[in-house]
Assembly symmetry: C2
Homo-oligomer: 107 residues x 2
DNA sequence: CAAATTGTTCGCAAATTTACGAACGATATG
DNA sequence: CATATCGTTCGTAAATTTGCGAACAATTTG
């Protein structure tokens, strides 16, 4: 029972947690593929109620992976590119740190 | 309320979920850096009780990211390299799929 | 055999997550 | 003004997660 967690561990865990549900992965993939889109488009893609979609979007927004913007009467969502890049690098670094040689992994 | 999730979305979500806690990230980093080690070594690294460590290890094992092996009287844990590689590729693919040009992201 | 070491499992409590329908606010339309 | 559309928020229920200490099993040591 010693050390605390590093800020980087907390950060990547936050990103990972946000990605830790199929609905949220589906949302992220959908957004990543097409610049931006509206809530309704996302809802159509998913097998869950709109209230639940809204909740998942909030979590992704809180994690910093997406951002939303009101475009009356709709709401437009898109990837938060800056944080997406941050996450991308964090995960790449994480998976690249293995100590057993680059041949069998991370290649 | 339409489509279901793809197998790949489910898989990456499973990996991400397992990584979605700082303690589990710390465990993975610790293991990735040093081939293998014993339960006690992992426990020493973390600010949580052994029962909780054991639980986190079980989740990582269930997700396929690590594997354990009894080496009486200790238990040796290490990264599951095959699945680590699978995960590495899945995440790389995921973050690389953005549609807004490679210059501003994923580079 | 008694005692110590190592880690898992059990039982429990508190917090969080997931999901839904209903109600709601805001704006546009008839 | 009444209606329809769009999406969030509220309230609730069920399931899962997180964490701990105590008990436990298996082996080794005295």
């Amino acid at each position: 029972m010693n050390k605390e967690y590093t800020a980087e561990q907390e950060q990547i865990a936050r990103f990972a947690k946000a990605m830790g549900h199929p609905a949220r992965m589906a949302i992220l993939e959908f957004l990543a593929k097409q610049e931006c889109c509206f809530f309704g488009d996302i809802h159509e893609e998913l097998p869950i109620a709109k209230a639940t979609v809204s909740q998942h979007l909030k979590e992704l927004k809180d994690a910093g992976l997406i951002q939303g913007e009101i475009e009356t009467p709709k709401v437009k969502y898109c990837i938060n590119r800056e944080n997406w890049e941050t996450a991308s690098k964090l995960f790449a670094k994480f998976f690249g740190q293995c100590a057993w040689g680059k041949k069998t992994c991370c290649g």
